[in-house]
Amino acid sequence: MCEANIYIDRGSGEELLMEMVDRVIPGEENNIFMESIFGERRVVKARIREMELVHHRIILEEIKEAAEVQTMEIWLEPDTDHGHFHEGEEVSLKLLKGYNMKAEPAAGFKNTKAFVTNGGEKTELHFHEHDGDKNLIMGQETEGLIQVYAVDEERLYAKLIVEIGHHHHHGLQPLGLPLEIVPSSYSHARMGDNYEIQVLKEGKPMAGVEVRATYAGTHNRDYPHHLTTDSEGKARLYLTARGNYLFTVSDEGIISTFTLMKSF
């Protein structure tokens, strides 16, 4: 038996990548090509850390490309599997830290604050800490269109808009964050909608900046969508996934997210 099992370390220990491999060819740009006796072929960006030939083990260490270096961001999620809140229902949100809507519990929060604005008035909210979760509970009296935002490490921002009850047509004001994503018109977003957002830096439209977008439960390790704002700081995304979307923009160390709640 000369085949080996290949393991890869992606930063959190070794995991089996491919069994019964009989060809391993290091290629250009850190690519390693491998083929198993079953004909399965794969290419990964990695370096060979160790070859334990007696044990038929080859251990690779993943090389993260510059673009793939994952910086932590924070975002808000509704704490309901229903996707939206009804009048009289307790509005409860969660603040998460991680990347691409995948929470990284080890990331840790620092100097975290949260605020709610409902028609111009801004109130600080207090977190309910539970098993390391950071929850915001706003009670049942809330109604209309409310905006919640959180700030962490004084440079990470998260924003979410909650619409309670249906058909509220209040104008939506930007919160005045240093970097902020504002939906162009706040209506109930649906799959199949071409959803438009605008990026504001210090309140002014920011043109030509990259906005990343993702959605709950994606299998993609990095953001599946990369948009660029036009001259008015606007970008559009055609919504094709179920569940909530997250839009993210970063500039000069500030990372600002906007969670788009979808009922379905």
Binding site: H84, G192, H219, N220, R221, T240, A241, R242, S263, F264
Partner: protein
């Protein structure tokens, strides 16, 4: 449940996943609604004749309310993406046929390849998810006349589903609808029992 679920969401919820076939069915159902100026079925007002039994039919059932159980969904096993939708009230019917090759996108072939696999790696799952995203936008935003050819057709609206008497099978003792029973020398039999006795299976 929240009321006023849009057609697309109704179809996805009913079918359980998003796939190109379902989306084509959504487009067909929406086209029928617009063309015939109808909404959803009530009391067998609408009748659908489908020539396929694949994913798209679930969109017809969920959006138009033509269902197998109500008897206003008729299946002709022709293996064609053709849907004929009739309205008793309007006295009209439209036959909607998917154009040959209309959805033969580069992404479709790879999607089918991944769909055939029993299990997917994390990378393949992501790839499949991204492909369905691309196909979703293409199918849902395509001009209707690139996707379908449709025409008004003559259609003799069948009588509403009848409720027939139930007879008891002499062999298994189970109930069988009168029009599906077999009157044999051994007594009234259901089709499976009739077949077991080597009788003709005529249904």
């Amino acid at each position: 449940m929240c009321k006023n679920m849009p057609p697309l969401e109704l179809a996805i919820q009913f079918h359980g996943h998003v796939c190109p076939g379902l989306l084509i069915g959504v487009r067909a159902a929406e086209l029928a609604q617009k063309h015939l100026d109808i909404t959803q079925d009530y009391d067998e007002e609408l009748i659908a004749i489908v020539e396929t039994d694949s994913c798209g039919v679930d969109a017809i059932q969920a959006i138009l309310g033509c269902t197998f159980g109500k008897g206003n969904l008729i299946f002709n096993d022709y293996g064609k993406n053709v849907y004929t939708i009739a309205s008793r009230e309007k006295g009209r019917a439209v036959r909607i046929a998917q154009r040959f090759g209309a959805t033969a996108f580069r992404e479709s072939e790879r999607f089918r390849q991944l769909n055939r696999k029993d299990s997917l790696s994390e990378e393949e799952a992501a790839e499949k998810e991204n492909l369905i995203g691309v196909l979703f936008e293409k199918i849902m935003t395509m001009p209707p006349d690139e996707l379908f050819a449709w025409e008004d057709v003559e259609f003799k609206v069948p009588d509403k589903a009848q409720i027939h008497a139930t007879l008891q099978c002499a062999d298994c003792g189970e109930g069988v609808m009168e029009t599906r029973s077999h009157n044999t020398e051994a007594g009234i039999l259901c089709t499976p029992c009739c077949q077991k006795r080597g009788g003709e299976a005529g249904v």
